[in-house]
Amino acid sequence: MHADVAISDLIRTADTGDPEAAEALFATLYRELHAIAERQLRRNGPDLTLGTTTLLHEAYLNITEREGAQFVSRGHFLGYAARAMRGLTIDYVRRRQAKKRGGEFHITASGVEQAGDANPAEPLAQLGEALDTLARSEPDLAQLVDLHFFCGFSFAELAELQGVSERTVRRHWRNARLLLHRTMQDL
């Protein structure tokens, strides 16, 4: 199920800017998160409300427990995992769309499933593309969107996580939203 390479090692290699390692890390984290989500769903039935932060937290705990990787801090880990979480969220929403609102499960905390949202997968996918574009020049802003929007971390939590003031996080958030919106229009 898991690649033999430890996630902490992948993170370290990805930290050096190695694109292959980054890709492998993404895939591994995705598999990790997906596995946890599926396990929860199997165990607790389809009506489960599954929080994205829960998923991430459990993934982190699993990985640190497995690899003893205390030196990969939660914040550092989340920086990478947030992107995987985005991919997972979009895929789930898409799958759910394909099953025509079969009531399989909900992913909350991301606000992607607001009532009356007829086809959330399409704009979400677009958003994902725009984020990839934004990430090329402003990776920190793209990550902020992943963490706040897709993973559900509050500004206060992000402020603590990144070691900046909440005011700064909010300013970055406004910035990210404006630029992301602009990027989506350009797509």
């Binding site: 459990e58 909350t108 939590e157």
Partner: protein, 966 residues
């Protein structure tokens, strides 16, 4: 339409600025920018205009609001699917927020028995896996017992039938502690009182065996009524699980998952044991934040990995140095600094100790100190001194090395992440610090003063240092700041190892580098000057040392002010030099000033105070005030034993010094015991070729020789010292002259007067080369040389030497100094021996009349003057006046030296002579016979009294007309 739109990076940078401006400013700023960048500004305006549109459309508005505070900021947008869900007696009403642990709902009591709301925390299911439903409920019951006005109560805990774990907590409407204080511009004292409420609450929890483990501002709210409420007590533990081990009530547990790195204690980062001390640390962080307005490890600018490293390794800046945001404290930064300096610094520092056992043992002790502070009473927390820090430095770095990969990887990861987030320059700066810390830690381990428990391989240390010097030239040639920092450390360590030429070389270069880098009038240059000055003094270049140390002191006073460690240090070093030059009058005020500074800065029990007390005691000792010195020695030894441990070389130093005070007071056994203890510790710490060891060997040799007359043992100690010193220091060094002088005394006493004279002339030449013609040491040499002439029966040759020595001593240390009196007594003896009785009598009397009989400090001096006076009176035909003096002298001598000591014998001769002069033959016989018997054994060492004794005894029987018994 082919305008080139501004790049996204440009827009981002401009937005960062614009979004932070107030509306009026923004208009002005944009108008200004439009002049130069019209394209960018119109794009910016378009973007900003779209913000309202995005707000209206709810673009990216998620439901992820904060937990308790700022409720309403979007919390109501969280998934409303569970509204109306019943959990036990509670019905969920609306979501309050969401965080990493789960969602928080406002709930209302469903049974209608009570009016009331509560906050219900729905925990992440993932966490239940680890906690286990049964344990969750059991722990919940324990937590529910917490009943304190300042703790948000846990009302209920359970697992819903669907498997959802939940906690029902007292609902607190309030504001985060730090913001509440800032908004009301609460002064430090009001903040402390609020903090004391928090401590009381935590103490209550601890009394119930519950540790919070996640204390931080967002977990502490203040209600509109001003009541503090602690949230989430014990929940961190509840959530972390114990991997199936142990009872649920244990207070301690292996950690490893600090939920909030910024408030985590070191043991939470390293996976140590969680105890009450963990909360003490978090509370220390909180208090620091409340008072200083910033986080102790300055997390504002660090990645988490680096932050974790800082938690383990870096001592936070002192509270008073960190004081900021004074406005929110209704004060000014200078006023805050003054207020925090001292007790508050110490209290916060103690709470933030890296080692749990060094923190306050209980919350109660922490609170006590704060209350004492508020009542202006002395507090228990004391500041670390430099020596203490130096010792801990290595220990800390050993931890880092033991963590090995952990630290290195965290550092690497941090550096890389920083590069992504911030510019390259900053990363490089951080890397530089890392390089320095790493290297210094490696070299620090070779520093004998820093590593007391290491068995010293002097060779290893040298090799390491020499390699370090090589490496510094090649590896760091492009990093002058680091290089000079490192070079200074190398020089200092060479100095501590006693390799003074290399130390001086490195420190000279350090000084030049720092003058170029930071200017001649910089604190870093002053530091290098000070260190170089010390080494120069060690090398015996007193004049050079003097000008360096004086310069460093002036710079530090000027740049840093008076109440600074560095200034106190400079005062001490300069005083040390003046003592070496026997300028006691000049040294004493420097030391007293340094002691006052240290006491103000660090408190009575600090190791800094201990060092200064030692220096002052040394001075008093040298001045001849041994009793006063002993008091200070005892205090200093007690502090060091307590703070550094018994085997630390600094403790050894202090013990040795105390030994010398005992010696001066005539308590020889105690003195010797202490000296041997010191030497053993020094051999362990320094190896066998260190000048410090040589100096101890020299002192012990002197001591046992003076006290117990064990000449051979003393001589071998002195020879070892001389060998070490000649190799380490060269010929023209005071220590070498000292060793030679002491060997000369032994040679003289042994009766080898030729060897004694040769050695003494050698010593005199060295001392004159070092000190010039007039110096206490030179006068001492003259004194000793005179003694040899006297022993050869040439008192006339001795007299001029002694007159010279006496005049010098009077000018240098004063008429009444014991050295001066010793020389004058000696001169009196020589005068008596050459028949100048009148002058001799006057000189003896001067010394004899000055001292009380019972003063242990001066007993030896008085006794020898007394005997001399008695003899002179006998010689002048006033034997009646001499008799009581000599009888008393014999009694005192027996008591002081012992019955079989040659000095006692010599005194008995004086008494016998006196009795003989009065024709009291029967009374003269016993003392004379006893003296001759003792002196017969000591004949080689004490030829003069031995000869004199035999002459007197023959005279006795001749005048008495009685045949000598066989």
């Amino acid at each position: 339409m082919t305008q080139t739109p501004p790049l996204i990076g440009t827009l981002r940078a401009l937005l960062d600025i614009v979004l932070d401006l107030a509306p009026a400013e923004r208009v002005r700023w944009l108008a200004d920018l439009r002049q130069r960048e019209p394209e960018a500004v119109s794009e910016l305006e378009r973007l900003m205009d779209s913000e309202a549109e995005l707000d209206a459309a709810g673009f990216l508005d998620t439901g992820a609001g904060p937990l308790h505070d700022d409720a309403g900021q979007g919390a109501e947008r969280a998934s409303p699917g569970l509204a109306g869900w019943r959990l036990g007696d509670w019905t969920l009403e609306r979501p309050l927020g969401q965080g990493g642990m789960g969602t928080v709902w406002l709930a209302r009591r469903s049974d209608g028995r009570f009016e009331g709301t509560a906050a219900v925390k729905l925990l992440n299911l993932a966490l239940l896996d680890q906690v286990g439903a049964a344990r969750f409920e059991r722990e919940g019951t324990v937590l529910a017992r917490l009943n304190h006005p300042n703790i948000a109560r846990l009302l209920d805990a359970g697992v819903a039938p669907g498997g959802q774990p939940y906690l029902v907590l007292e609902y607190v409407e309030g504001e985060r502690l730090d913001r509440w204080c800032d908004e009301r511009r609460l002064g430090p004292e009001a903040r402390l009182r609020l903090f004391l409420d928090i401590l009381e609450a935590v103490a209550h929890a601890h009394a119930n065996l519950i540790v919070h483990r996640d204390l931080k501002p967002s977990n502490i709210l203040v209600t509109p009524a001003g009541t503090v409420k602690l949230l989430d007590f014990g929940i961190a533990k509840l959530l972390e699980g114990e991997s199936g081990e142990g009872a649920s009530t244990t207070l301690t547990e292996a950690a490893g998952r600090a939920l909030t790195p910024e408030y985590a204690a070191p043991e939470q980062v390293t996976g140590g044991t969680i105890t009450v001390a963990t909360d003490v640390y978090s509370l220390g962080v909180l208090l620091y934040l409340l008072l200083a307005g910033r986080h102790p490890t300055g997390h504002g600018s660090r990645s988490s990995a680096e932050h974790l490293r800082h938690i383990i390794e870096t001592d936070p800046p002192r509270l008073s140095a960190a004081a900021a945001n004074a406005e929110a404290r209704a004060s000014s930064v200078p006023r805050l600094r003054r207020l925090y300096a001292g007790d508050l610094d110490n209290i916060v520092g103690k709470a933030l100790k890296k080692r749990p056992e060094e923190r306050y043992a209980t919350i109660g002790a922490f609170a006590d100190d704060l209350r004492r502070y508020l009542r202006h009473q002395p507090v228990s927390a004391r500041r670390d001194s430099f020596g203490y820090r130096a010792a801990k430095f290595v220990r800390r770095n050993r931890i880092a090395l033991a963590l090995g990969v952990v630290a290195a990887v965290a550092l690497g990861a941090a550096a890389i992440r920083e590069r992504q987030l911030r510019g390259r320059a900053e990363t490089e700066a951080r890397k530089a610090v890392a390089v320095r810390e790493y290297l210094v830690s490696v070299f620090g381990a070779a520093d004998p003063y820093a590593a007391p428990e290491d068995s010293a391989g002097g060779v290893t240390a040298r090799a390491l240092l020499d390699r370090g010097v090589e490496r510094i030239e090649t590896a760091l040639s492009d990093q002058p700041e680091i290089r000079t920092e490192l070079r200074g450390a190398l020089g200092r360590i060479y100095g501590n190892l006693g390799v003074y030429d290399r130390a001086a070389d490195q420190l000279e270069r350090t000084l030049r580098e720092r003058r170029t880098l930071h200017g001649a009038r910089s604190a870093s240059a002053a530091e290098a000057m000070d260190q170089l000055g010390q080494v120069r003094v060690q090398q015996g270049e007193l004049a050079v040392g003097d000008s360096l140390l004086t310069g460093a002191l002036a710079l530090r006073r000027n740049l840093l002010g008076t109440d600074q460690d560095a200034t106190a240090e400079s005062l001490e070093h300069l005083a040390d030099l003046r003592i070496k030059r026997n300028d006691f009058a000049g040294a004493e005020p420097l030391l007293r000033e340094a002691l006052a500074i240290q006491t103000r800065l660090h408190g009575e029990g600090s190791t800094g105070v201990a060092s200064t007390k030692l220096a002052l005691a040394d001075l008093l000792q040298a001045k001849g005030s041994s009793a006063e010195a002993l008091v200070l020695y005892r205090e200093a030894v007690a502090i060091r034993e307590q703070r550094l441990g018994e085997n630390h070389p600094l403790t050894a130093d202090a013990i040795g010094s105390m030994g010398s005070a005992f010696e001066a007071l005539g308590q020889h056994e105690e003195a010797e015991r202490l000296a041997r203890r010191m030497i053993a510790a020094q051999r362990r710490a320094f190896g066998d070729s260190h000048p410090t060891l040589a100096s101890s060997l020299n002192a012990l040799g002197q001591m046992i020789y003076k006290a117990g007359d064990r000449a051979e043992e003393a001589e071998s100690l002195l020879r070892e010292a001389l060998d070490i010193n000649r190799r380490a220091l060269g010929e023209n060094h005071p220590a070498v002259a000292d060793n030679i002088g002491n060997l000369a005394i032994i040679a003289r006493d042994r009766g080898d007067l030729g060897e004694a004279e040769r050695l003494l002339r050698q010593g005199l030449a060295i001392d004159r080369a070092i000190y010039g013609r007039e110096h206490v040491t030179v006068s001492f040499d003259l004194n000793e040389l005179a003694a040899v002439f006297r022993a050869r029966g040439q008192p006339d040759s001795a007299v001029p030497l002694l007159r010279d020595a006496l005049a010098q001593s009077q000018r240098l240390v004063g008429e009444t100094h014991r050295n001066t009196l010793a020389v004058s007594t000696h001169l009196a003896r020589a005068l008596r021996e050459s028949g100048k009785l009148e002058e001799a009598e006057a000189l003896f009397r001067q010394t004899f009349d000055r001292f009380e009989r019972d003063n242990a400090d001066t007993r030896v001096l008085r006794l020898s003057a007394q005997v001399g006076l008695g003899r002179t009176l006998t010689g002048r035909g006033r034997a009646r006046d001499a008799l009581p003096l000599l009888e008393e002298a014999v009694a005192d001598s027996r008591k002081h030296y012992g019955v079989e000591h040659w000095r006692t014998a010599d005194t008995e001769l004086a008494l016998g002579e006196c009795l003989l002069a009065q024709r009291l033959y029967a009374r003269a016989e016993a003392p004379l016979r006893h003296a001759v018997a003792v002196l017969g054994i000591e004949r080689r060492k004490q030829p003069i009294p031995a000869r004199e004794g035999e002459t007197l005894l023959r005279r006795l029987y001749r005048e008495w007309g009685k045949p000598p018994p066989q």
